[in-house]
Symmetry: C3
Subunit: 181 residues, 3 copies
């Protein structure tokens, strides 16, 4: 009996060690790209995953950052570099372009028209859906700093947070799926 009890205790220890190594029903995504097509793919995956019961985290970094700016918000007090980045990068999801076949904006306009025709949600609608479904959005602080963006000019989104790569990795390590987009 004692022998068995000891074995049982060992099994329990092993089991909890293994449990710590298993991931949660979660998808973590790095949205590095700011291209319309890739961001669209990111949101289709995110909303699809959350609809399947997964917890979803999107970490927007580099070119992905400017598209989370709010078109309607203006902030002052930027230095020259910050003003340049602010002016050159897309402002909000309505301002993004296709990575290929943009053709001076014509390709992007065509794609938007097609999406409407085929009942594919626009990026603006996807973002709203993501918020309703509880997709968490992280924005990379280093990218904000490099591009001179301020929190006051970013979109209002429930569950938005500003963080570094370590915070993202903590989520990613416990996720069953990780993607770099």
């Amino acid at each position: 009996m004692e022998h068995l009890e000891q074995q049982m205790a060992e099994l329990k220890t092993q089991l909890s060690a293994i449990e710590k190594k298993t991931a949660e029903n979660k998808l973590s995504m790095i949205v590095f790209s700011g291209d319309m097509d890739k961001v669209l793919a990111a949101f289709v995956i995110a909303t699809g995953a959350v609809a399947m019961g997964m917890d979803v985290v999107m970490f927007f970094t580099f070119w992905g950052t400017p598209i989370l700016r709010d078109k309607g918000k203006k902030v002052g007090g930027k230095d020259t570099m910050g003003k340049m980045f602010g002016a050159m990068l897309p402002k909000g999801t309505g301002d993004v372009k296709l990575s290929k076949m943009n053709m001076g904006g014509m390709g992007t306009a065509m794609m938007k028209k097609l999406m409407k025709q085929k009942n594919v949600a626009s990026l603006e609608q996807m973002l709203e859906m993501a918020e309703e479904l509880g997709v968490r959005i992280f924005i990379c602080e280093m990218s904000m700093d490099l591009m001179g963006f301020k929190r006051e000019e970013m979109i209002d989104y429930q569950g938005i947070s500003y963080c570094g790569v370590a915070t993202f990795l903590e989520e990613a390590i416990n996720s069953r799926i990780q993607l770099f987009i």
Copy 2:
């Protein structure tokens, strides 16, 4: 004794809960890109993984979709947009270009020549190998719909299926490796 039996039953429950959270020996890949270099990387990884005994699923979406069209097949009855997309996008694996250094097609031609010289399989050969090895190919229905592609113009491939992101995610969640290419 009863005490031990109860503990044993608890351990079994825990064990099967953990088992549900572990992934299969499977690799799931999203092939979003239609660039020659990236698609080549995707097939090198896919065939390499299957040679190691892994189950492999490739989900072709967006720019990845047109390269699975069959050059020899023609379909009618497309609207203007569908005809435009059909004409502008690469038709089949033989028609793809490098993402960089394409130089009006010269770079791509050089790379193809080099691959032959160095005994690296061409995309056409990779696709054949993938089929023989049992790599499963999924094609994104939303992309087909957006680009106006019809099933009749896609390649013949054993184990091809048309589906949405949910079907892919179900595979991905049970895979040890997931990649977005």
Copy 3:
């Protein structure tokens, strides 16, 4: 008693089967891109992960390969194709460009200046940090062969190794996080 012992033995077998399916505290990354912004992201993630106690493997392939050449090293005996690739591709981390807004080099120069201003480590410094922290670097032999690169022209880096996709996949399959950048 015997009954219990048998159950215990079965549990142990199940447990070790599950253990084989769990991944290690490791991050495996394919660095396919040679763009400054993406390579920067790759190193930020790599050094961040290793700082969190993870084991990190970076597998440089295709456009990622030339940036691991040593600017100071020269090798002879290349054929015409090898010389062309050698001349056209970036030589070392100091030679890379932004994937967007490069504007003839001006955008890249601006970004480098900004990174210095904001105390973001340069790629050269990141590479040094990665070496100190023990990030392992794999270089794809197929890419070396295609681009005509020789081992003698690559950087000195402790823990560098030259291998194929199979070696990478063996690491990736036992990793909790995998990314294709």
